[in-house]
């Protein structure tokens, strides 16, 4: 085994490179700044471009422009930057722009504690922009998963023409771990396939709402259109309610219809378990230890770790909750993803949150005691 000793942000940058990312724009913000730094080192020798923008709005604007011109683009920020990205994320959804956004979460709200971790943006990224249309969000628990899921995030963003969030946390991004990146089998990068038609290209064309339209890059063979305004399949402004609804249905259907394909969970199942711990991100690691300690105590406990947060892997969560009387949801926030669990829980099952938002990790002991696992 050959190991490296690297932080999560380096794994994200190197994963992006493996995924074929050749454009990065960002604005310095702790704990995401080192991604900008790594990309400034990694991209130019590969013929790519990494730039520091004048602010977060410009950073994501550059990325949207570059993506529509054919480059796989990445940006990275933390909660305050996501606030500034908000309107452009709506644009990227509207324009069906492939784009990966890393949110290295830190203690908020507002400026909060810049150098401390939290998982405070879990619902924020889902409802980040006006309109409430779906996005995809993946959540790594380790440096290795940060590497692996970054590649997956790029593939999903290309496949579904939608912004994909990688929800990291200072505790993963700025913690060094011994890790063997070369031993990780990465997904092959998904390349953008140009439209096959030579005329009458419709930038948002689909026959069935769940179809993902082929994307013509600016500068390639076809003259194309992109617009923030309510538009039809050809990208022209429309005020026709039927056409508007058809487009909205499309933005929703292309993600919802693919929910099972996008769902990625790890189910550590114990036969006859009456308790299930559902967790994600850095907290999943302590949750796993808590479940193990509970089993050592003779309790029957299963554990479900979510790597896909959105679209909510409803089938996998519902299946894991079957027969369970008690669901424990530990989170480094005041109870965000628990809302998804509550709506999926079987009748009669108690859903219990274990919550802390004081910049320190939830410990296995806190999860076990407050979750009633002992």
């Amino acid at each position: 085994m050959s190991l490296e000793f690297i932080e999560g942000n380096e794994a994200i940058a190197r994963g992006a490179l493996k995924a074929g990312c050749r454009f990065f724009a960002g604005y310095p913000i702790t704990p995401a700044s080192t991604i900008l730094q790594y990309m400034l080192e990694l991209l130019p020798p590969e013929g790519g471009v990494a730039v520091q923008a004048e602010d977060e709005i410009a950073a994501i604007g550059f990325c949207i422009g570059a993506s529509m011109a054919g480059q796989k683009a990445l940006t990275a920020t933390s909660g305050p930057g996501i606030s500034l990205y908000s309107e452009n994320i709506g644009l990227a959804i509207m324009g069906e722009t492939p784009l990966v956004i890393v949110d290295v979460q830190r203690q908020g709200p507002a400026t909060g504690s810049a150098t401390k971790g939290a998982d405070g943006d879990i619902q924020f990224v889902r409802w980040v922009t006006s309109g409430g249309l779906p996005i995809i969000a993946l959540c790594p628990a380790t440096v290795a998963e940060a590497y692996e899921l970054t590649v997956r995030a790029f593939n999903l963003s290309e496949r579904y023409r939608v912004p994909v969030f990688l929800l990291s946390n200072k505790e993963i991004s700025l913690t060094r771990e011994s890790v063997d990146l070369d031993a990780i089998a990465l997904l092959p990068p998904v390349a953008r396939t140009p439209p096959t038609c030579d005329k009458d290209y419709r930038p948002h064309g689909f026959a069935r709402p769940e179809e993902v339209p082929a994307l013509a890059n600016f500068g390639d063979a076809l003259v194309t259109r992109y617009t923030t305004s309510t538009h039809d399949q050809a990208g022209y402004l429309t005020a026709n309610p039927a056409v508007i609804q058809e487009m909205i249905d499309h933005y929703v259907a292309k993600i919802e219809a693919a929910a099972d394909e996008i769902a990625l969970v790890k189910h550590d199942r114990q036969d006859g378990a009456e308790t299930l711990v559902v967790s994600y991100g850095i907290t999943a690691r302590a949750a796993g230890l808590a479940a193990r300690a509970a089993r050592a105590n003779g309790r029957k406990v299963s554990s479900l770790t979510l790597q896909t947060l959105y679209p909510v892997p409803e089938k996998a969560i519902a299946a894991a909750m079957t027969g369970v009387k008690r669901v424990v949801v530990p989170e480094m926030n005041m109870g965000q993803y628990i809302r998804e669990i509550e709506r999926l829980a079987p009748p009669g099952a108690a859903v219990v949150g274990v919550n802390k938002m004081n910049t320190t990790l939830l410990s296995p002991d806190e999860i076990a005691r407050q979750g009633g696992l002992l």
């Binding site: 913690t175 600016f218 923030t228």
Partner: protein
């Protein structure tokens, strides 16, 4: 381009232009069309970028790629498009409103000098939302939001971007002869070019201020902001400069890969807190020690805590070493605490009272230590560092710890020092390592 020359870049397939009768935008777009005909840019290589405001309605009337984005952000998309595809000709049509809300992008596009041509359709107010005042509304100008006349000063867009470094700047009137030629020059300019085109808004600003073409000219002339070509200088274009710098950029060195070469005696996850001061190389020495542990077959994690003013105050590194994968990276009950300075001690003082008796505290002599159940080892670390080198106190302390606790062979630490540090730093640190060993031997 191949084939016959295009006689117009405007299409009649989408109906007539949507602007109010007499609106300056109509004339401006026709001048843009003339410029494009003169340049004969292939439509697939041409992007018209617009944002919100009446002028933002323009893109659909052109046979070109169209990018219509958020209010005031057109320059950011244009920058991304141009950096990703340098072969594109990128033209931004923006209003005076967009220049206000997107002011920082205007400044930075000018400063950066990406090869974009920005044409400002400047009619001194927000036509799309009811004629509110904008950053260019003249003093005294009447708008929906300045009912008794504008008491703010108008922003001189040209002077502003020139101040920010713009390399080609022109101010003209929407109805002047030859504007199409000026647009051609702006597009040909290899860098950021801005044309501030002053126009009539016939729905709002014109009638509210009794403007006509003649009075518009008088208004702009009287402002003293200048008309005509206001800047034309050669500056490196950002994209070209970027690509040139990238050709010279060194390829990133292969990251350090660590193969286990030694054994260890660490049976369970072991937490080590190194608390010192900025300037003591706490973080890099902790990383070095972790790599030494990895050379001995251990897994490791490291977290650092230090103030944002990095050259002052405490610096604390938390290291975990374990025979297997480390799930929980916080150190609630450390096995070892190294106190290298008063800063470090004060930073973690509150936690010292909770240390278990199994914990070993290895502290510099002379520190004001609180009551603790932990085992205590006091060594003259600062004094030893004075002899070896000020920056080596961490290595001295960690070598002392290793000599005392035998977590893994000292040879692994030595190998890490020589492998992962530059020769001159390694030389000092080998001395520091030996000094640490000697401190423990003297204690015994």
């Amino acid at each position: 381009m191949s084939g016959t020359a295009l006689r117009t870049y405007m299409t009649d397939q989408v109906g007539p232009l949507p602007f109010c009768p007499g609106c300056g935008h109509d004339r401006l777009l026709k001048d843009l069309d003339k410029a494009l005909v003169a340049l004969q840019i292939a439509p697939k290589n041409l992007v018209i970028v617009t944002d919100i405001g009446c002028i933002g309605l323009a893109d659909r009337y052109f046979v070109a790629n169209a990018f219509h984005g958020l209010h005031g952000r057109s320059l950011t998309y244009a920058t991304g498009l141009k950096l990703a595809r340098p072969d594109l000709t990128v033209i931004v049509l923006i209003g005076d409103g967009g220049c206000g809300i997107g002011g920082t992008h205007l400044l930075n596009a000018a400063r950066r000098n990406v090869d974009i041509t920005a044409i400002v359709a400047n009619n001194f107010n927000y036509g799309m939302t009811g004629g509110q005042h904008s950053v260019t509304t003249p003093s005294g100008g009447r708008t929906a939001t300045t009912p008794s006349g504008n008491i703010e000063a108008a922003m001189d867009l040209c002077a502003t971007v020139i101040g920010a470094g713009a390399s080609w700047v022109y101010r003209g009137l929407g109805y002047e002869q030859g504007l199409a030629n000026r647009i051609v020059e702006g597009i040909r300019h290899p860098g950021f070019a801005l044309l501030d085109v002053c126009e009539l808004c016939t729905a709002y600003y014109g009638p509210r201020n009794e403007l006509n073409k003649k009075k518009l000219y008088e208004l702009v002339a009287a402002s003293g902001m200048g008309l005509g070509l206001l800047a034309d200088k050669a500056r490196p274009e950002f994209g070209a400069a970027y690509r040139e710098a990238a050709r010279r950029a060194p390829k990133r060195q292969r990251v350090t890969v660590i193969e286990a070469a030694f054994t260890h005696s660490v049976a369970k996850q072991t937490g080590l807190v190194v608390a010192g001061s900025a300037g003591q190389k706490i973080r890099s020495t902790a990383t070095l020690f972790a790599r030494a542990g990895m050379l001995a077959g251990l897994q490791a994690t490291q977290k650092d805590d230090y103030p944002i003013t990095v050259m002052t105050g405490p610096s604390v590194s938390e290291l975990n070493l374990a025979p297997d994968w480390i799930a929980y990276t916080a150190i609630d009950k450390p096995d070892y605490v190294l106190l290298l300075s008063a800063d470090g001690l004060n930073k973690i003082r509150a936690s010292l009272g909770r240390l278990p008796p199994s914990c070993l505290v290895l502290a510099d002599e002379g520190l004001d230590l609180p009551e603790t159940d932990a085992r205590l080892m006091t060594l003259p670390l600062t004094r030893a560092a004075k002899e070896v080198g000020r920056l080596s106190i961490g290595t001295i302390a960690l070598a002392a710890l290793l000599e005392s606790e035998k977590l893994f062979p000292m040879a692994a630490f030595e190998a890490a020092i020589t492998r992962y540090q530059s020769k001159d730093i390694a030389e000092v640190n080998i001395k520091a390592m030996n000094a640490g060993i000697a401190l423990v031997a003297n204690t015994a």
